[in-house]
Subunit: 530 residues, 2 copies
């Protein structure tokens, strides 16, 4: 999830509920570890302006565990390993030398890429909007050879380049072995299989989504294992949905819910993002839509797990988020979008977020009402019903353009995908109207384009909810399917099939190519298409 343009709260406070945090910590998962080795080496080639990996040499693993290829490198030489699939974990290199005894340190650079682009692009040239420290690159000196080098940092990658910057004229560096100990809290033994005979196109779309989720499931649900490696609530909501139909790790969702509920911001607002290291700590970023999604995640969790105790204990936190959301509406219950905090929706800086924010508010108010009903809290349910009615009526009055038959947003009456999507998901219009809106969008497009798979996900959800299941499927196949055709082992943070080098941050080198909010196809397929 995002990292820039977000409001940091002034005079930031963290309100800790120690009991909640303790519950979360008790649910800390044991990570599942597996050692894997590269399958081949590759060389980079350019195709339509982007680097692609071409097979150079296959690598066998011999009976004694050694690799059939042991590259011997001198100054300026490099090798690119291909591990065959996306990995998240800790890399070990076994190095030796050939020639005279090494009379100078071995000095080499490692570059890790989820995609070949990250190997091909020059890190030094990056001048984007977020920190270059996310570029997965290390420069190492090894004083004594042979050596087993255990890299202490976790990397997300499929490709790993070793470039020798120097040895000495007297010896070459030999890479005896490379391995990655992958980590995840997703248990493949619990993964629900797809039925026999499922359409292979769906099997593939599902597989990549499942892999994306798997690699983002760590100590918490991370947004992306390359970047930012943190628990973001927007990602969590979609991850949890896929998780219920795949790995079914209910405890990990429960843990994340208790973390967000146990580490609140000023006004007891649920934060957007949470750090687990060096200590549990809510970030000082406050987001309108993300705070409200706590309610969604809680209800989804209950519906998947039937864990009534958690629902009961955390419902007050959810209700409070709705109250905070309503505080940012006008006398007609319409979202002010006055910059008090940031409404994300999508990585489109031109987007006016009023209507989509309103949609998220109504959407989550309805979920809060459902929670109240489940818990038998009639008073709360009625109160919420009142808010839903007010907000919906207000939205129709102020944000619906009956001539254009589109929702409009903000002072410029902007018409965007996002506004339609969220007002439809909020159920603010009848299904026939929703269908009409979406078909016109599909037919005519819209200048306020959808940037991230996150908003594409909600577009698919809106199509399905509006009875356009076939359109949703072909849309999903076209968008996520093209991502796979473009080389995705896991779904990307940002993707535009018309502009394959799109980045919200200025360069592909910094993009996350395994990003939680993109894993939705596995959810849609398993829920609606099998």
């Amino acid at each position: 999830m995002p990292k820039i343009m977000m409001n940091s709260i002034e005079n930031f406070e963290q309100h800790v509920n120690a009991a909640f945090v303790a519950k979360a910590e008790a649910l800390k998962p044991e990570l599942i570890r597996k050692t894997i080795r590269p399958l081949r080496t590759v060389r980079l080639a350019e195709d339509r302006g982007l680097y692609q990996a071409e097979v150079q040499e296959d690598i066998r693993q011999e009976a004694d565990g050694t690799l059939s290829l042991k590259p011997r490198l001198r100054k300026g030489n490099s090798v690119i390993y291909d591990f065959g699939d996306h990995c998240v974990g800790y890399v070990t290199l076994k190095l030796s030398s050939a020639g005279s005894p090494p009379d100078a340190p071995a000095y080499f650079r490692l570059k890790f890429g989820e995609m070949p682009y990250e190997i091909g692009l020059d890190s030094e040239s990056y001048d984007g909007s977020i920190s270059s420290s996310w570029i997965q690159e290390e420069v190492l000196h090894v004083d004594v050879l042979p050596a087993e080098v255990h890299l202490p940092r976790r990397y997300a990658f499929r490709y790993m380049e070793v470039l020798v910057k120097d040895t000495s004229p007297k010896y070459d560096l030999v890479i005896e072995d490379v391995s990655c100990e992958t980590v995840t809290s997703a248990d493949r033994d619990r993964l629900l299989p797809l039925p026999e005979g499922t359409d292979p196109a769906l099997v593939l779309l599902d597989k990549v989504g499942v892999k994306t989720l798997e690699d983002c499931m760590q100590d918490v649900f991370e947004d992306g294992p390359k970047r930012d490696r943190r628990l973001w609530i927007g990602d969590l909501r979609l991850q949890a949905q896929v998780n219920y139909l795949t790995f079914r790790n209910y405890d990990l969702v429960k843990r994340c819910l208790y973390l967000f509920a146990g580490l609140l911001q000023n006004e007891d607002h649920v934060g957007a993002c949470l750090f687990t290291e060096p200590k549990l700590q809510i970030d000082d970023t406050s987001m309108y839509d993300y705070g409200l999604f706590f309610t969604s995640i809680l209800l989804d969790y209950y519906e998947a797990s039937k864990d009534l105790g958690t629902l009961k204990e955390l419902a007050p936190v959810a209700y409070h988020q709705e109250e905070l959301g309503l505080e940012q509406t006008d006398e007609d219950g319409v979202y002010l979008n006055d910059g008090r905090n940031w409404c994300f929706i999508d990585w489109n800086h031109e987007l006016d977020k009023q209507a989509s924010g309103q949609g998220v508010l109504i959407y989550t108010l309805k979920q809060a009402k459902k929670i109240a009903e489940i818990l038998g809290d009639r008073e709360k349910a009625e109160e919420l019903a009142g808010s839903i009615e007010k907000c919906t009526e207000g939205a129709i009055r102020k944000l619906w353009d009956p001539e254009k038959r589109f929702f409009v947003s903000g002072p410029t009456k902007q018409i965007s995908y996002a506004s339609q999507i969220w007002m439809i998901l909020a159920g603010a219009v009848e299904q026939e109207t929703a269908k009409d809106i979406l078909l016109r969008l599909l037919r005519d497009g819209n200048e306020y384009t959808m940037i991230t798979p996150y908003i594409h996900h909600h577009f698919v959800a809106a199509l399905i909810q509006s009875g356009l299941k076939a359109e949703a499927l072909s849309y999903m196949k076209a968008y996520w399917g093209q991502m796979i055709a473009d080389g995705a082992d896991t779904y990307f943070e940002a993707y535009d099939p018309k502009n394959r080098s799109v980045s919200p941050y200025g360069s592909l080198i910094i993009n996350s190519f395994c990003h939680a909010w993109s894993c939705g196809p596995a959810y849609f397929i398993r829920k609606y298409y099998i």
Copy 2:
């Protein structure tokens, strides 16, 4: 010591004497550790084309151990710490952050410099003849802050730069503490003090020499703690001489003697250089003069320690080196210098080494004879006396030019400092002749200049031996004293007062500024001037 242009032995063998190696290993020293912290920060300024350090801010160490300065750095910011003196050891950084919780790794570069030049010069621009892997620079990513970063490699430095390559717009990197755990096997408690009232100029010359030796005394006598960090026999000889008059660590010399005697090369030749990691291993570099110096070191060791057992046990190894040396002479006992192995003498590639190699042979033959006499081995002593006579007469006949009254070397009859120095040290001419040669050299100079303090050392030794004690002292004051005036905390590997940026390898950035073969002033002062 050197690293290039050296012959590597073909079909290299290592002849191990396990008993000798075991004796050496039993003498492995316990390193003395001391934690030190920077005294100030500095900025770089240029003076006569070289970077100099100017004080920026003093740093106090508070009563609670914290530093009075805690630099707060963002992208592009840097700080240069000055530890106040040369250090060899392991660095720890205590880092924290200021601002929002760190939402991206801290990404920074560390540069270590014995001299400010190494901080100022761009590492990437280095294109010299030896490995750039010796440049003391690291690039680090720290994922979680606060953090205590223990750098695993040993550095030799006084200056340490921290340059922040990136954090994120949300936080700054704070350096809470920096420290270095220095290591040495030199025990300051055993250091012989200079007499009260010693000339302050000599006190200073001695102090820098002692510090140079101290920082090179590790697990073995190293040539330089920055580079190559190894046991070289040419350095060992001079280090041992200073050691006997300062730290008096006889065991460390004994250890090195047994290592060289226990790990012989083809033909049981003593190697030039020895690795202690990953395992004890003689290098495949074979050097004519260095092999012969085993004899010198053994005799010097006996004379300082009176350890007759070691002398007796290792004498055969020394005698054998002399035999191997003699094998490379012609029928008149004159060194062939036919490239069978390499005669070092000095880092002057124009230098013809025949006469100086001949000098080293006679010099060490005389020491071997002395060993035989001490051990009462009359037969060996007589045999060696015969060789000495033959080699000396041969040298006078073939290498002495009675008209020019200089020793000449090789087919071009080259006249150099080095040839005169070593033939004089060999005692091949009477003192009056030696004096005449040296005074003419002092007066007229010579085109084959002396490059390293190693050959300057032998020039001083030749002056003293020839009764030119005052000239030796003023030469020493001029050469090593100017090095101190130019900022030396320890004596350099290479130095030319007329060309301060001299490097045998193409750039000052790779030079070693604390180099064992330069520590001689402490020996000369303590032996001849107090």
